[in-house]
Each structure stands twice: as structure tokens, then as C-alpha cells.
């Protein structure tokens, strides 16, 4: 097996707040190889975006980020200077954000912004950068690419802007692409197109991809690995097949109320909602954070919860060894 592109071990992110420290991300780990797609699912506030930003080195200065390991293609990201991180960002690792309407600079043309992404990292002239921009716009399915270059973001629809964002992220052919809910803000009909595009490009360019999404149908279709996050923790992770066929954690089961099977679930099917609210992560968090919403919680859930493994690459956190009750 090849060397992983990304290896995250015990990543924690603390945010100092007026009321105390918010433990937004609490010791997560996963790894990802070239050509693989890892999907992160979990309700909002579970720390998916912060995890993505931490990998990119884009957390704001007031947040404290620690990890036992944060390796990217053999580079220890924890030890990189801001300048070295800048050199990696946009070149070897790139990110696509949730808000296509506001993620492009309103003052510059699409062409300027695309070309900048290449010229920041490669000693190429304008003509070459322009040619590359046209090529990428074609790749993301934008017609009349050449005339788009002189347009401004406000002249494009949300779907087109997100395609431009994807093109921009791919200008330097990164090894790792992180897409943080890239379609949440778009029309349902556009969502499927954009996700299919991302999946195709990932395969074509043989990138490692982290996709944060709510769309379980998409997860079922394109994920190699799935990480389920809850309240800043990975509550379950494993190969996509394992997670869909053999979910162990009560939260995962709740999400998969009707378990989709790879290839059978239609795109656009959303995570089932589970009643209850996420506990506050300010101050010390003890026991299983899911217990206030869990059907099978017991007294033991209030203290340390064991990490369990089934099979080679399937892990979950629960006091129950084999989940009580048949899969619903």
C-alpha cells in the first residue's frame, strides 16, 4: 500500500471563549491515501469545518490546535512555518467552501482569480496562466470558458460560482482536495451535478479527497471511507461498505434510519434527524456526548467510553460491544 497522503492522529481544537474553553474538536484521527475519498458526516456544529481548516492551516489565531500527528505526504504540518504552509496551500492541498456566493472576490474577474491561483505557485506568464484557466473551466463543465474569464462573480449563478471555485482549487493539481459541504447552499438539482463533477475529477486527477456532506446518497456512491462525527469526536469510522452494511454506533444508526446500500440509495436522500440537542462542549466533557439522545444509554455512558474495533478498519465508541437490537 502507498504512503498515506494525510495522517491525522489525536487532533484537538480548543477555542477560548468568555464562558470557558470550547473543546470543539476532541481527539480525532483518520488517514487517507492517494485516490481515496473520505466522507465526513455529522450534524452541524460537530467540528467538521474546523477539522478541514486545521488541515489547511487556516484556523484563526485565537484557536488552539494540537495533534499527536498531522502529516501531509510525509510533511509534518505541525512544524511548518506560516510561509511553508502558504506554499502548500493552493498548490498541493486545496479547499472548496460551503458558500459559493461569497467565496469569490467581488472586485476581480473570474479570470484574475483563477490565474492568481496558479501564478502564486508557479513561475508562469499571463498567457500560460490564462490557457490553464480556460482548460480548467472546461474541465468543470463551464461552456464558453474564454468569455467567462472577463466576467465578475456577481454575473454568475451559485452553481457556476461553485464550479469556478472547484476550477480554482484544481489549478495547481493538488494531491489533496477538501470540499466542505460544497453543495449545501445550492439548488437540489445543481447539488447532484456538482457532486458528480467532484467525484469524476477526483478520480481523473487521482487526488485524495475529503468531502464533508449531508447527502448520504452521495456518501454511499462515492466514499471509500466514512468518518461519523458527533460533538467534536469521531464516534464511528470505517470503510464505506462497513459503515453502511454494519453500522455499530447508535448515532450512525440514527443517521441511517433506512440504511442505504452503495449503488442503491438515490442522491439527495438526507440524513435522518434525531431528536434532542448536542451538549455544550465548554469546559470538561465527560462520558459519551450522545447519551442525552441515545435510546440505549446506560449509567456507564457517563464515564469513559471504550473505543471498539471490529475487523481491520472499523472503529466506534460505545459501551455496547455489539449494538443491542436489530438494525432498524
Amino acid at each position: 500500500m502507498s504512503e498515506p497522503v494525510l495522517k491525522v492522529d489525536n487532533l484537538t481544537i480548543d477555542i477560548p471563549m468568555a464562558q470557558g474553553t470550547l473543546h470543539a474538536v476532541r481527539g480525532i484521527d483518520f488517514e487517507l491515501k492517494r485516490g481515496e475519498t473520505l466522507c465526513i458526516v455529522g450534524e452541524s456544529g460537530s467540528g467538521k469545518s474546523l477539522t478541514s481548516l486545521a488541515i489547511m492551516g487556516l484556523l484563526s489565531k485565537k484557536m488552539r490546535c494540537n495533534a499527536a500527528r498531522l502529516d501531509f505526504s510525509g510533511i509534518d504540518l505541525r512544524k511548518q512555518s506560516p510561509r511553508a504552509m502558504r506554499a502548500l496551500r493552493g498548490d498541493r492541498m486545496a479547499m472548496i467552501f460551503q458558500e459559493p456566493m461569497t467565496s469569490l472576490n467581488p472586485a476581480y474577474t473570474i479570470g484574475d482569480q483563477l490565474m492568481e491561483a496558479l501564478q502564486l505557485h508557479r513561475p508562469v506568464g499571463r498567457a500560460e496562466a490564462r490557457a490553464r484557466a480556460i482548460e480548467l473551466l472546461g474541465k468543470v463543465g463551464i461552456t464558453a470558458a474564454e468569455s467567462r474569464l472577463s466576467q465578475y462573480p456577481h454575473q454568475l449563478s451559485g452553481g457556476l460560482r461553485q464550479r469556478v471555485m472547484i476550477a480554482m482549487a484544481l489549478m495547481c493539481e493538488p494531491e489533496l482536495i477538501i470540499a466542505d459541504e460544497p453543495t449545501t447552499a445550492l439548488d437540489v438539482t445543481i447539488q447532484a451535478q456538482i457532486l458528480r463533477l467532484l467525484a469524476d475529477l477526483q478520480r481523473e486527477m487521482n487526488m485524495a479527497m475529503i468531502l464533508v456532506t449531508h447527502d448520504l446518497g452521495v456518501v454511499a456512491r462515492i466514499a471509500d471511507k466514512v468518518v461519523v462525527m458527533y460533538a467534536g469526536e469521531v464516534v464511528e469510522k470505517g470503510s464505506a461498505r462497513e459503515i453502511f452494511e454494519n453500522p455499530r454506533h447508535p448515532y450512525t444508526r440514527g443517521l441511517l434510519r433506512c440504511i442505504p446500500v452503495p449503488g442503491k440509495t438515490k442522491p439527495g436522500e438526507h440524513l435522518g434527524s434525531i431528536p434532542g440537542i448536542v451538549p455544550s462542549l465548554i469546559g470538561k466533557v465527560e462520558g459519551c456526548a450522545f447519551r442525552s439522545r441515545c435510546d440505549v444509554a446506560e449509567a456507564a455512558c457517563a464515564s469513559d467510553v471504550p473505543v471498539r474495533r471490529t475487523g481491520e478498519d472499523h472503529m466506534y465508541r460505545c459501551i455496547h460491544e455489539v449494538q443491542a437490537g436489530a438494525p432498524s
Binding site: L58, G90, N105, P106, Y108, Y152, M168
Partner: protein, 305 residues
């Protein structure tokens, strides 16, 4: 862009006409112009003679049209006090005021924008507090007092700069600082607020995600967007500065149009006052028009529909 420019131009011309009408009416707002010219002890026949001589007996609109056509060809009539054509009088003085205005606004922009950016980059830091202090001082201190302090320190005590007159560039340093400092606080605070807002924008995060350096993020991606409202403010400030230059020109005895306005008001020299109001208003209209164009150029959402 062409449509935009034409629309703004049309608006500017409309405003100019309104202003010209108002400044002309001024002649009649302050009482009977003929008795004003004749002086306090004039007889009724003298006043009538003056009324006929100056044409005050004609209908208002005829007088206005007459004045407007004259003004369009650069003829603003005779100054009652100096007894020379108003156009000549103003022509001699205007260049001084314009020079002072341009220097003043440049000084304000050159100090306010970098200070505003620096303050926004590190809120509550030493530089932010210094900027705040300077801007509060700028607002609290009356221009004439600040001007006098400068004269006492730099002319009388240190002897570095001439206290009055307008013959060399050295004469313009203190007036520029006083006039510019008057406009600086508002521009600085708007730059700071604009930068703080823009720095939270998603496209700033995108720029960082591309690997842009902090300097590039600040100046290419943030300032360009934050500066749009600053341009409009600068145009308005420029208008206020024409008013401010009346004070500054009197303190430093710079014989510019501002000083002339003060003299003419004091002497009831109505044709000169009318012409100055029209010209100052025209400046204001032109600044606003230009700032609209600059804004359209800076912000494609205005320019490209």
C-alpha cells in the same frame, strides 16, 4: 459603464442648475440689493438710480437668465467692493485654494488609509489605540487653534516654517497639515471599519486558501473592497475642506478663494459671494461625480449591471 456615466452626468447637470438658481436668489434673500450697494445713508433717488443701473428692476427670471449666461461665459459681473470683474478676482485666488485643497486631501488620505489598515489588522493593539487617539484629537481640536499652535511651535519657537503668506511651498506645509487633519479622522475610521468587515468575508478566506501572503490578502483582496465607501467620503470631505479652507486661509494669510469668501461676506459684496458659492458648489458636484466614477471602476457590481 457608458450608461452609468451618462446618468451621473445628467444628474450632476441638474444639480448644477438648481444650485445656480439658489445662489442667484441669494441676492434677494438678504433684503434689497440696491439699498445694500448704496450704503446706509443713501437717498431714495440714489437707490432708484442704482436699481436701474444694475437692472434690479427687471423680472427675476430675466435677471437670472442674464446672470447665468454671463456666468457660463465666465462673466460674473463686477465686484461691488473691489470694483474689478469678479471672474478676475476669483481667478487670481482660486489656484491657491485648489492647491491647498489637493494637498490637504492627499495628506488626509496618505495618513488615514495606512493608519486605518494597520489599526484593522491588529484591533486594540498599540497602533490601533494611537490611531484612535489621533482621530479623537483631530475631531476635538478646532482648526484655528491647531493652526495657531503650529505657528507658535514651528514658526515662532523653532523658526522652521514661515507663519503666513503663500509665496513658496514651505508656506503650504502647515495649512496642508491643518486642513488635512480636519478630514483625516473620518476617513481613518471608515477605512478601519471597512477593513474589519471585509477581513471577515469568505473571499478573504479563499485568498488565504490559495496561498496568498498576508500582504497580498490585505492590499489586493481586502483594501480594494474596503476602500469603495472611503472614496465617496473623501469626495464629501473635499467639499467640507473648501469650507475649512476659509478658516485655514485666514489663519495663515493665504490669499485664496476661501479668504476672499470671508472678505466678501463681511463686505456684503454679493456678486463675489454668488460666484464663489456657485464655484464651490460646482467643485462639490464635480468631486461627487468623479467619486461615483472611481467607485464604479473599483466595484464591478456598480459598473457591470
Amino acid at each position: 459603464m457608458l450608461m452609468f456615466t451618462l446618468k451621473r452626468l445628467g444628474l450632476a447637470i441638474l444639480v448644477t442648475f438648481t444650485v445656480s438658481l439658489l445662489s442667484f436668489s441669494l441676492l434677494f434673500m438678504s433684503g434689497d440689493p440696491a439699498s445694500a450697494i448704496a450704503g446706509e445713508n443713501a437717498s431714495a433717488t440714489d437707490i432708484e438710480a442704482i436699481r436701474a443701473l444694475y437692472g434690479f428692476d427687471r423680472p427675476f427670471l430675466v435677471q437670472y437668465a442674464d446672470w447665468l449666461f454671463g456666468a457660463l461665459s465666465g462673466d460674473f459681473g463686477q465686484s461691488y467692493y473691489f470694483r474689478v470683474p469678479v471672474a478676475q478676482l476669483i481667478g487670481e485666488r482660486l489656484s491657491t485654494t485648489m492647491l491647498l485643497g489637493v494637498c490637504g486631501i492627499s495628506f488626509a488620505l496618505v495618513t488615514a488609509i495606512p493608519l486605518g489598515v494597520a489599526a484593522a489588522m491588529r484591533p486594540n493593539s498599540l497602533i490601533d489605540r494611537t490611531a484612535l487617539f489621533l482621530s479623537v484629537m483631530g475631531q476635538a481640536m478646532p482648526s484655528f487653534w491647531f493652526g495657531l499652535v503650529l505657528i507658535v511651535v514651528f514658526s515662532i519657537q523653532l523658526g522652521w516654517l514661515p507663519p503666513s503668506g503663500s509665496s513658496t511651498w514651505k508656506h503650504f506645509i502647515m495649512p496642508t497639515v491643518v486642513l488635512g487633519y480636519y478630514a483625516m479622522p473620518a476617513i481613518m475610521r471608515l477605512t478601519r471599519a471597512g477593513m474589519l468587515e471585509v477581513l471577515n468575508a469568505d473571499y478573504i478566506r479563499t485568498a488565504r486558501a490559495k496561498g496568498a501572503s498576508e500582504t497580498r490578502v490585505m492590499f489586493k483582496h481586502a483594501l480594494r473592497n474596503a476602500v469603495v465607501p472611503v472614496v465617496s467620503l473623501a469626495a464629501v470631505q473635499m467639499g467640507f475642506m473648501l469650507g475649512g479652507s476659509i478658516v485655514v486661509e485666514s489663519i495663515f494669510a493665504l490669499h485664496g478663494a476661501g479668504y476672499l469668501a470671508w472678505e466678501s461676506i463681511a463686505r456684503n459684496d454679493l456678486p463675489t459671494v454668488q460666484a464663489l458659492i456657485l464655484i464651490f458648489s460646482l467643485f462639490y458636484i464635480v468631486f461627487t461625480f468623479l467619486s461615483d466614477l472611481v467607485n464604479a471602476w473599483l466595484d464591478p457590481r456598480i459598473r457591470v449591471g
